[in-house]
Symmetry: C2
DNA sequence: AGTATTCTTTTCATTGAATGAAAAGAATAC
DNA sequence: GTATTCTTTTCATTCAATGAAAAGAATACT
């Protein structure tokens, strides 16, 4: 009698509903009811009901075959998120210009917890395929944008990251605290970061932080194949983009997210 | 005793939770607890609890001042939505190339119910400011992309739209069924749509549909000021983009959304 | 400083909404 | 034609959601 108790882990309705939504991922963007139930770890009947309500709220959609997928509403709300509405939207023109100027893949990333996360990536048909995906979490210590973000963070945060195990993604990944720490200082002085095959073999990048009022808000990076080591030529363009964005962010601060959104 | 009953409109927990999330919009991306409660139409204590759980699930975030905003999780999930993961991601390189070729504002839109909705908009610092916002709903009968979407839809759908009241946004908006119907035929024959100041004064556009296996999946548009009436020159580039995207979508069909996502 | 107002957090007795096993109904595979 | 897997509906039980109320903070007003 004591053993069966562990079955129900006393979740609230909302936790269950979020578990249902969380059942979707890049590999599973469309699920049947039973798949959904299995992946959410909930009884079919329960998921049936919850999914029905989420569908009413347009957080879920069903395709012709009856399979569930995340709904447009969810996408629309994502646009209201600070990272999107506040940052990406403002950054876009700068990213486009940069992309236009150098023709290489351009990335925008922010800190999210102990990782960096890609907010936007511009790749044209001509530029090099990079495996990074918008929304993907990437390590702070092993990528150009990651190191740019880290180098301009608070000492406390840097220390915290340095204390964590630094995973080696390639033979070139910096896994030693001392070495990484030294390089972060260099980056802070020079104003931009470099990375060569530290995360993905064959890819080089340069990246610079977007600093608003002393705080790193984001980083912009340029990536291409290691073979072509001419990225340095784009440093001025890169810095023009990051500085331009920083100024713009300072300007619109509060506008997009009115500090006091008035009555009602 | 009978009169007080109407107070609680018998909503489910989920409906309430979604109401909380729905309280945010473009004008109100950040809200205090009491604002949130007021806008959601729920008691403060209830919202306090619901918001807490949503925060646990990272669907809500609180800023330094304690104000609530939509969380990163929500944005991440939006990326998994078919319109984003399936369409925008694939379309992006084509949009970038088009934007690169013509230098004007480029838009991607799809049908959503009886409206069109902007999925992406590319504007560089140099190009003209257009008020359209990604995620915004726009009428099918009064914009370039809208008409492009409509002209290639099923007759049943066209009829349904033509039966609805056609709102006039400017003096140039087509509000007469006959005229609109005739123009849709023209568009279907010619392969692309035009629009001049029909939705927003001073803005002209051309737009073409993305047709995969006989079905319109999206439309791409180019917008600039009415003064410059040289948009026609970009028609070949536009069609190259829409056709290229159509082919690509046909190729990846099923890949991004595996019909049978295997076991588990 | 002192009072008033508005906002956030916690508590708790009450109840009604969420639950999920079970069975019926579809669809698909064998 | 039978078996298997999936979807939908039902319903008695119970447990989790509820929101009024009060305490605790913070902010505005005089």
């Amino acid at each position: 009698m004591t053993e069966e108790l562990y079955k129900n882990q006393a979740k609230s309705v909302i936790a269950r509903a979020l578990a249902v939504l969380g059942a979707f991922d890049v590999e599973h963007p469309l699920l049947t009811l039973s798949q959904l139930a299995r992946r959410a770890g909930l009884p079919v009947a329960t998921v049936y009901r919850l999914a029905g309500e989420l569908e009413d709220g347009r957080f879920l959609d069903r395709d012709g075959a009856g399979r569930y997928g995340l709904g447009v509403r969810l996408w629309e709300m994502g646009l209201l998120t600070p990272v999107h509405g506040g940052l990406r939207e403002t950054a876009m023109p700068f990213l486009l210009n940069l992309h236009y100027e150098c023709g290489e893949t351009v990335q925008l990333a922010v800190c999210e917890g102990t990782d960096a996360i890609y907010i936007e990536k511009l790749t044209s048909e001509v530029s090099v395929p990079v495996k990074s995906r918008v929304g993907a979490h990437i390590p702070l210590h092993a990528t150009g944008v990651g190191k740019a973000l880290l180098a301009f963070s608070s000492d406390a945060f840097i220390d915290a990251i340095l204390t964590m195990p630094l995973k080696a993604y390639t033979p070139s990944t910096l896994t030693e605290r001392r070495a990484l720490s030294r390089q972060l200082n260099q980056i802070a002085q020079r104003g931009y970061a470099q990375s060569d095959a530290e995360y993905q073999l064959g890819a080089t990048s340069i990246a610079a932080p977007v600093v608003v009022r002393g705080t790193v808000k984001a980083a912009i990076g340029i990536v291409n194949y290691s073979a072509r080591d001419d990225l340095a030529q784009y440093v001025p363009a890169l810095l023009r983009a990051t500085n331009g964005l920083a100024l713009r962010l300072e300007e619109v601060e509060g506008t997009a997210y009115p500090s006091l959104s008035g009555l009602e």
